[in-house]
Every structure is written in structure tokens, then in C-alpha cells.
């Protein structure tokens, strides 16, 4: 396991954090609303805060051991941290910021050399600028570069896009994807935005009120939240990989499994090819397979019901319609439709409810 947290405990006033987790994926998302304990956990991993109890290990090396009183200081952990606003040193130029982090003497691997890092992040032209003169997106790229030139063993990104507007976010996501692919570093990505989880992470851990509620592959967590609490935080969504077939104005056709869906393409970059298709379960309508009226919904998918799970007043219906699709229906609707496992139904989804996310 890359990073393991065992019995990590922190108590601060009303707030208590208790975590047991093993993070092994390439990019692990740490998902939670504010106040869920994300930042505290980040500080513990980086070594900026000492937990009252628990053991933290990275690649088998003990970073913190509450019982034996071990606490490796942050400078010896090799964990590159990028906080929300970048936290660039305002009294140093961009180059000065990078120099500060560079490991001297240490034969740093080639990929972490400054020239290479600047190339990947497209900041070679910014070296002589001062942090105060950079845009939000540039600042985050510099902060990312600074963390990388320190040749870390793990990259810890704490809501790196939270301070940016939608356009800047979209512009910086591809850089994050490049960093993920180029440096072969395990990444822990903290955020409360589902789209970022989908675009970047392999696994995700859902955190609420200091507790880990669910941990698994991103698609799995969105499609099958472990309980109602998780469903309330992340929402229930079908998330599947697809292939862009072609566009027509703002609409784009995507092949998913053996099916074909139409979605809105306005958020996609022009050169997108592989995409993630996400469809919120509330936005899927089911009708009986024998009744096919003429309707406006762009997507009409014939499928077979594979499972029914009751969740309070609603029922989570999974159907195979060329890919696994989740729909959220009221209990009453399920009864009226006569849906059971094996029923044939038609799923109706409006194109604007099919969200396409570029995935490099």
C-alpha cells in the first residue's frame, strides 16, 4: 500500500477525526464537504499536525506512530503539498519559489528537473514574474511545479482548483492530468467537486464528520453509494467511460458499452476523444418496454433490470442497457410500473442530463 492510516485520531473541541484507510491507487480522491475533516487529514499526512493516536506509513516507512512517539518532520517526508491558493512565497519570484524547493546535492531524477517540470506545466515564461502578478491559474501551476521539483514521493493536492472560476478550472484540469501521467507519482486529490473526482481520480474516499464512509473506485462510489449518507453527499450517478463519436452543434454522440447516448458537449475541449459520461440517477425516467410514445428525450435506451435496492422512500434501479445505468425511482413508481429483476424497460434521458467530461 502506498499510504496507510491506521487508527488515526484527532480531537479538537467538538470535532473528532477517526480514520482507518489504505490508499493505493494512482490518484485517490478525498471527497467531502467543508468541515468533514479533509484539511485536518491533509495536515496529518503532510506532517504539519500530530494526531493523538494512530500510525501513518508511506511505502511501508513509518511517518507517524502515536504510541511509539514517532513523528517524522514534514521536511523529511517527501510529500509535496499544493494548498488551495497555492501558498506561493510572496517575497520570492517564481524562479525563487522553484529554487527554494529544489533538492540540491541529491541526484534528483530527471523528470523532476526544473526545465522538464516547467515544460510540462507551461510556466517557463513566468520564471521572472512575482507571485502577486500571476493569475489564479498560473499561481496554481507554479505551486504544482514547486511541489514537483522537490522530487516528492507523494503529491498531496488540497482543493487546488477551489479558488478558480469555472473557465480557469477547465483550463488547468488538463495540466493536472498531464502531471498524473508524466511523473508516475501517487496523488491524493482533495476536493468537494464531483466533476474533479471523475476527471482525475481512480479511487475515491468519502469523508464526513471525521469519518471515512466509503472508499472504492470512483464509478462504483457514484453508482452505488454505500449508504444514504454517502448518497446525500456525492449524489447517485452512473459514471461510465465512453468514446466520442461525433458532434452536431452543442450535442455530441458517445458510444458507451454497446449503446449510444447523446449529451451536451459545451464543456468539452475541441480535441476530446475519450470521455466520461455521467448521468444522475434522478434524471433517468423509466417506461414500460411495450409503450414507446413519441417524446422529446434524446436518449431512449432499452434495457433489462438487474437489481433493485430500497433506500428509504426511493428505490435504486440498476439496468443493463448496453452499459450499467442507475435510476432512482419512488417506491410507488416501481410498484405501478411493475418493475422486477429481469423486466424490460426503456430508460429516457434528456441530452442536457448526460454530462460529458473529458478524460485524457
Amino acid at each position: 500500500m502506498t499510504l496507510s492510516l491506521q487508527g488515526v485520531r484527532v480531537k479538537a473541541g467538538e470535532f473528532a477525526l477517526e480514520i482507518d484507510a489504505e490508499f493505493g491507487g494512482r490518484v485517490t480522491g478525498l471527497f467531502g464537504i467543508s468541515g468533514s475533516g479533509k484539511s485536518t487529514l491533509v495536515e496529518i499526512i503532510a506532517g504539519l499536525r500530530r494526531p493523538e493516536a494512530g500510525v501513518v506509513t508511506l511505502f511501508g516507512e513509518v511517518l507517524t506512530d502515536g504510541v511509539r512517539g514517532v513523528h517524522l518532520p514534514p521536511e523529511r517526508r517527501g510529500i509535496g503539498l499544493v494548498p488551495q491558493d497555492g501558498a506561493l512565497f510572496p517575497h520570492l519570484s517564481v524562479e525563487g519559489n522553484l529554487r527554494f524547493a529544489e533538492r540540491r546535492g541529491l541526484a534528483a531524477e530527471k523528470v523532476f528537473r526544473r526545465d522538464h517540470v516547467c515544460g510540462v506545466l507551461g510556466i517557463a515564461d513566468l520564471l521572472s514574474r512575482w507571485p502577486a502578478t500571476l493569475s489564479g491559474g498560473e499561481r496554481q501551476r507554479v505551486a504544482l511545479a514547486r511541489a514537483l521539483v522537490s522530487a516528492p514521493r507523494l503529491l498531496l493536492l488540497d482543493e487546488p482548483l477551489a479558488a478558480l472560476d469555472a473557465a480557469r478550472k477547465a483550463a488547468i484540469l488538463p495540466y493536472l492530468q498531464r502531471v498524473r501521467d508524466e511523473f508516475g507519482l501517487p496523488v491524493i486529490y482533495v476536493s468537494h467537486v464531483p466533476q474533479e473526482m471523475l476527471a482525475l481520480c481512480d479511487d475515491m474516499a468519502v469523508l464526513a464528520e471525521g469519518k471515512l464512509l466509503q472508499h472504492g473506485p470512483v464509478g462504483e462510489v457514484f453508482r452505488r453509494p454505500a449508504n444514504q449518507e454517502v448518497a446525500g453527499i456525492v449524489g447517485v450517478e452512473t459514471v461510465v467511460a465512453g468514446h466520442l463519436l461525433g458532434g452536431e452543434g452543442e450535442l455530441a454522440a458517445v458510444s458507451v458499452g454497446t449503446a449510444r447516448v447523446i449529451g451536451l458537449a459545451d464543456q468539452l475541449p475541441a480535441d476530446a476523444h475519450d470521455v466520461l459520461v455521467s448521468i444522475r440517477a434522478e434524471e433517468v425516467l423509466l417506461v414500460g418496454a411495450d409503450s414507446l410514445p413519441t417524446i422529446s428525450a434524446r436518449n431512449q435506451l432499452l434495457g433489462t433490470v438487474t437489481s433493485l435496492v430500497s433506500e428509504g422512500a426511493t428505490v435504486r434501479v440498476e439496468l443493463d442497457c448496453g452499459f450499467l445505468l442507475t435510476a432512482l425511482l419512488t417506491r410507488q413508481a416501481v410498484v405501478e410500473l411493475g418493475v422486477v429483476v429481469g423486466s424490460k424497460v426503456i430508460a429516457l434521458i434528456k441530452a442536457p442530463s448526460v454530462h460529458l467530461i473529458a478524460r485524457g
Binding site: E43, A46, G47, L48, P73, P74, E75, R77, I79, G80, L81, P83, A87, F89, P90, H91, S93, F100, A101, R103, W130, A132, T133, R146, A147, S150, L156
Partner: protein
Amino acid sequence: MALGWLLARRCWPGKALVETLVALPLVIPPVATGLILLKLFGRRGPLGALLRNVFGVEIVFTWKAVVLATAVMSFPLLVRSARVAFEEVPQRLEGVARTLGAGPWRTFFTISLPLARRGLLAGGVLAFARALGEFGATVMIAGMIPGETITLSLGIYHEVQLGNDNAALVLLAVSVVLAFGAVATSEWLLRRKTP
């Protein structure tokens, strides 16, 4: 400066007591502070006797007493501004510096200190001004011995007492020039290297 940093960033037992002790010279009348120093460092005072017997150093009514009095009086201003200056450095920046491989010392000298520069300088100028104007404590412990323990402020008072208004005016001019120079220097230091 070190004390300012300790007060700003660390929690330690007795912190409140030290804070109060440091602030005392600000609130006690200067003459009273002078009296305390006189009792402590006088020939029969506990510290004075110790210094005289062990090091053979005489404090009271020498130039050393002037240094002591002005130092004690301006110390709180220096410590307070240093503390505020260090508190204003975002702790996140220091934390990030640590994760980038800088130890506590390197973080202090390359991040905390440069970022606290303005506040530290301002504190220094303030403390200098206080030292320049210090009268009460100095006159108690150092007296007013011409050629030995006359400070600018004491000098102005002394000359006016003797009726030498012209000499007093010259000293006044000197103090104005000194003060002006100090403020100008600090302004210049602040502008330099600021993006």
C-alpha cells in the same frame, strides 16, 4: 526578536507570565522602572552586588546604566512589534516550506524573517525613538553626570535648566535629524526588494 517569535508561534508554560513581565515597562511610570533598576543594580542590590563581585562591573551612574535603562524601556516595543510581525506571516507558508524540504531554521531565515521584515523594522524604529526619548528611568539609575551619562533628552533638559537655550536648541536639532534619519532609513529598507 527570538522572544517575539516564541510568543507568536509557540505555546509554553509561563508564557503569560513572560508576556506580562515584558509589557511591564510600558505601563509602570518610567521613573518607577528606574527605581526598580536602581534597587536591583545598585551597589547593595542583588544583581549589582553580583556583577561587582564576580565581574568587577559597576553599573549605576555610568554609561552602562544608560544602556540598561534605554534597553529595558524599549524592549517591550521591540518584542511586541516582533510578535505582531511574526503572527502576520501566514502559518501555511511556513508549513508549505517545511513540506518542500526546509527545516525549521531554514524556514525561519528564508520565509518567516523576510516576510516579517516590515514589522520588525517598524518595531526597531519605534524602539529607537523610545530609547532616544527615554528620560525617567535613565535619570534615576544613571543620574545626569556631564560627560558621562548625559543622553540627548537629559542634555536638552540640563541645558534648559542652566539657561543655555541655544545649546538646547542645537541638541533639539540633532534629535530631529536622528529621528528623521531613522525613519527615512527604515522606509528605504522597506521599499528595497519589494516587488
